[in-house]
């Protein structure tokens, strides 16, 4: 067994072990209902952290609009589930909802990727932020309803849908979608997490993944070697968006009222995910999962910490970046501890150039 396979298996092992422990605690009744409610969010934050790490760590482009893709996945799948609630049985409906959520998010990832990936660095970051906000604002002004005559759509108000008496407003503007069936549970969340880990880790260690990382390290050199820069960037970005969409499906099927609010889908939420990725180690997929789970659970469990949570995270973010990236500090570290010594707390596996 080579080193890469072993490393991948360790990651799956950690996730499965955590699942078994938590599930055992749940069955023996040792888990408070508060903690039980945190398990599904924990999985979808881990999933979207994996998605963002693919974009930031492997592709090397900072996206601060990833919650926008999550938003698209959440709304498209919730719309389907709500519309088909009485037509289809639960299992096939939820599977199709996943396919729709992932597919629509991937489609938007692709469409948004076309303009966005022509840019680099700061510009790319700010445009992804812009798209995240655009998605949120546009979804907030959608009104969609279904009655016996078919689907109605407007961007004005629920009254303007002009529906028959049997009509059912599904997407109600800023009020969002209410009453999506609660199909997501911890097991499904873990399965989704494992699948996204499988996709991302295999992508990284494939020919395509190496091409993507070559673009990250030096895109001019990669282009000169014959790597299709646009194509591979597009591929990584679309896959990343699709995984974020899967996180969105989990999100929407775990919440009663789904609204495109800043709290969940604004850029502050996207930055929260970025914190998970940075603290877990940029480019370190396993680190992202661990960091997302720990950083999500800790402040929820330690109520006193919640007030200072973001303050502490932001300070850690700044300190981590300076310690890990400052040329002066890197030189000092190498002089004092030797070339390999004292990596960051979680240790980066791959350098991002």
């Amino acid at each position: 067994m080579n080193k890469i396979t072993k490393n991948n298996l360790i990651t799956y092992g950690i996730v499965i072990a955590a699942y078994i422990i938590l599930e055992a605690l749940m069955l023996t009744g040792n888990l408070s209902s508060h903690l039980k409610g945190l398990l599904v969010p924990m999985t979808y934050y881990a999933v979207i952290a994996v998605a963002l790490n693919l974009c930031v760590g492997i592709l090397g482009e900072l996206s601060i609009g990833h919650c926008g893709f999550m938003c698209i996945g959440a709304f498209s799948s919730a719309f389907f589930s709500k519309a088909m609630e009485n037509t289809l049985p639960t299992v096939p409906r939820f599977i199709i909802a996943f396919i729709i959520g992932i597919g629509v998010a991937a489609l938007f990832g692709f469409l948004i990727g076309i303009p966005v990936l022509r840019l680099k660095g700061d510009y790319l970051a700010i445009v992804t932020l812009a798209f995240g906000e655009i998605i949120k604002n546009v979804i907030n002004s959608f009104y969609i309803g279904i009655d016996s005559k078919g689907m109605h759509f407007t961007m004005k108000s629920a009254m303007d849908l002009e529906m028959e008496a049997d009509g059912n407003v599904i997407v109600n503007g800023a009020m969002g979608i209410t009453g999506t069936p609660h199909n997501a549970n911890f097991t499904i969340g873990i399965v989704v997490l494992l699948i996204s880990l499988f996709v991302v880790q295999n992508l990284i260690n494939s020919r395509d993944g190496r091409a993507i990382m070559a673009i990250r390290d030096n895109y001019i050199a990669a282009e000169a070697t014959g790597v299709n820069v646009t194509g591979y960037k597009m591929m990584a970005f679309t896959i990343s968006a699709a995984i974020a969409g899967a996180a969105g499906v989990l999100f929407s099927h775990n919440i009663t009222t789904l609204t495109a609010s800043s709290q969940y889908f604004g850029y502050n939420a996207s930055i929260m995910i970025l914190v998970y990725v940075v603290l877990g180690g940029i480019g370190n997929i396993r680190g992202s999962v661990i960091a997302a789970c720990v950083l999500y659970l800790l402040p929820e469990l330690l109520r006193g910490l919640n007030t200072y949570r973001m303050l502490i995270y932001s300070i850690i973010l700044i300190v981590m970046m300076i310690v890990n990236w400052s040329p002066g500090i890197i030189a000092w570290r190498e002089k004092t501890f030797g070339k390999s010594g004292l990596l960051g707390l979680f240790g980066r596996k791959k350098e991002v150039a």
Binding site: V127, F131, I134, I282, L311, I315, V352
Partner: protein, 294 residues
């Protein structure tokens, strides 16, 4: 008549964006970094004015001066502590993520000190303004002051950059830091000065922004900050007149789309402009094209 009122409101908002965008564009032009925390400097400035005015029972002039001084200090300190160590880092993402961290830090410090509830900010400009055509067309004092202040700032900055030694040093450092250092320019000092000017402008913009839109929360600065960056990109990043034009266009578009299209979608339209500009003319209206070197 109402169209004219909206247009003037747009000009006023645009002037505020322009002042913020000036700070962005100068820092970006010289330090080649997106100071994500710039919008939060505005918020800090507002809170300082708010607190000082409250302590001095409504004397906002002192408040503005204190805010300008403290924001300048904040900008220089941030640059020194958080950004300078990362200059020349292997990844361009490092300094951007640090800037995001600084932005978060400032917002959360404000949140701890002042709480999340929205404070009502009393305008620093007490003048009522003019009223034309039997009160159908009203121009508020704050609108006029905002436009005048932004024009004055633009002129002074242009003169400073083109006529003084320090300004020339800034231009040189933005062209080529290595060559500038060889010419005897202290690049670190020049960048610190840029941050000082940008942050002082942020305080001024904060005073004007909160006078025109008198609600203050820890997130007050974030959105205007990002929109001002859009303005800077629209005008051509690194260009001072460009920031002015970009800011004005953006302000007018925002107010008009809020009025005539949908208040829900106005942000989407503003960000849509950014996307279109970057696709059609990535250098902006007045920007220079820079060829990428290997």
């Amino acid at each position: 008549m109402s169209f004219l009122t909206y247009l003037i409101n747009g000009l006023s908002l645009g002037s505020i964006y322009a002042i913020i965008a000036l700070g962005y564009t100068m820092v970006y032009g010289i330090a080649k970094m997106l100071n994500f925390a710039h919008g939060d400097f505005i918020m800090v400035g507002c809170y300082i004015i708010f607190s000082v005015s409250a302590a001095l029972s409504g004397n906002s002039v002192v408040g503005i001066i204190v805010a300008i001084v403290l924001c300048t200090l904040l900008g220089v300190t941030t640059e020194f502590v958080a950004y300078r160590p990362l200059r020349g880092a292997a990844s361009p993402l490092a300094v951007l993520i640090t800037a995001i961290g600084v932005s978060y830090l400032l917002e959360n410090i404000a949140l701890l000190i002042y709480g999340a509830d929205i404070k009502s900010f009393s305008s620093v400009i007490k003048w009522e303004g003019f009223s034309f055509a039997d009160g159908q067309l009203k121009i508020q004092g704050v609108t006029i002051v905002t436009i005048v202040v932004s024009v004055v700032i633009l002129t002074v900055l242009q003169l400073f950059i083109n006529k003084t030694k320090q300004g020339q040093a800034m231009l040189a450092a933005s062209e080529d830091k290595g060559a500038a250092a060889l010419m005897g320019i202290n690049v670190n000092k020049t960048i610190a000065l840029t941050f000082a000017i940008g942050s002082a402008l942020a305080a001024v913009a904060g005073a004007l922004l909160c006078s025109a839109y008198p609600s203050l929360s820890p997130y007050t600065g974030a959105m205007p900050g990002i929109k001002a960056f859009v303005a800077a990109v629209l005008g051509g990043i690194g260009s001072i007149p460009g920031a002015m034009i970009g800011g004005l266009v953006l302000g007018i578009v925002e107010i008009l789309s809020k009025t005539y299209i949908s208040s829900q979608l106005s942000d989407a339209i503003v960000f849509g402009i950014l996307v279109v500009v970057l696709l059609v003319r990535p250098t902006g209206i007045l920007g220079k094209k820079v060829q990428e070197k290997v």
